[in-house]
Symmetry: C3
Subunit: 139 residues, 3 copies
């Protein structure tokens, strides 16, 4: 049994940016040569999240509109008074969606559906450099 911890660096363009990191994850898995186990994907930080969905332009718009409906950017949040950076909505969206995901793999392949991509969802109100941990545990 081995544990291999890697980091994927992602540059985002700001709020609503959705970045497909599936190929980066599966490339890391292939390099390990491990056959069975699990991949933990974890976003370090509190204003972005990890999601899985079909990565196509229509659904990307739907995802952005859903978060805008549930947690509107225009709403004033108490957090906005704490640091003056007006990103209370970003924190709430990231909390609700969650920072982590565990994906099993077997025969050296991640057990994802064909239309199930792993996506970094940027919720902050400005471009960010994201550090996503990809930890592969298996044999």
């Amino acid at each position: 049994m081995k544990i291999i911890t890697s980091h994927v660096q992602v540059s985002t363009t700001g709020p609503g940016d959705l970045i497909n990191i599936t190929e980066k994850i599966t490339a890391l898995l292939e390099k390990t040569k491990l056959q069975n186990g699990q991949i933990t994907v974890f976003n370090i930080g509190s204003t972005a999240a990890i999601a899985t969905f079909e990565f196509e332009p229509g659904l990307m718009k739907d995802v952005q509109e859903l978060f805008e409906k549930l947690i509107p950017r225009s709403k004033h949040h108490h957090h906005d008074e704490t640091w003056g950076d007006a990103n209370g909505f970003s924190h709430l969206r990231a909390m609700l969606q969650g920072p982590s995901l565990v994906i099993p793999f077997s025969n050296g392949k991640a057990l994802l559906g064909t239309w199930q991509q792993v996506v970094l969802a940027e919720f902050d109100n400005r471009p960010r450099q994201r550090d996503v941990v990809v930890q592969i545990l298996g044999e």
Copy 2:
């Protein structure tokens, strides 16, 4: 330390179907004879999700009504134009709830509460055959 990857096949009746898979998971755990470790439950596919809640008819209705309120089926989504299959709402519900869950076990028992069942939530707009990965890692 061992890793044992199994698949649970579930037939669903369509949107809003909630299927208690707790006993299938605990039966797989017992078969492994492992004593300490974790169970990763992962739904392959982008229009169903994994949830934990008390599996009783009243709450099942509440769960269905909650998703209908947050992400109404009647709303037109951009994704509906991509494939013409009118299930944008299914994708959004599945993304928000999430495809995976990790449950620790010790002394050979899953550390779930008495009223905490593991449930496959079907969000697609038609019956589906679901393939849920149950990966057990432990000693």
Copy 3:
């Protein structure tokens, strides 16, 4: 590779109580002396959840207001008729937020952001004694 399963006991004051358990988790990690691996945090029970967010008073109010908006306490739920304990809203909030989280660690440190605390969110309508599993797996 080792697996060490611990329990963190938390007393909550009732609905909306948010308790920062980050230091309890990192103290358990230090005691193991393990260097690389993952921490699974799992709330046993169906009316509380695990979240990560910046633990500061403004955002704590925002989190409480968000759940009140998405799943109002005043709404009558079908579940309230099942046991007569009027906590349907608690179950739904806990389901949506989720009971578990997996955090990677390396060089003996949990890979959390500076403003990314691990929080037990009490959603029940009365004070509870919570039992949170912290399972550390690594080498």
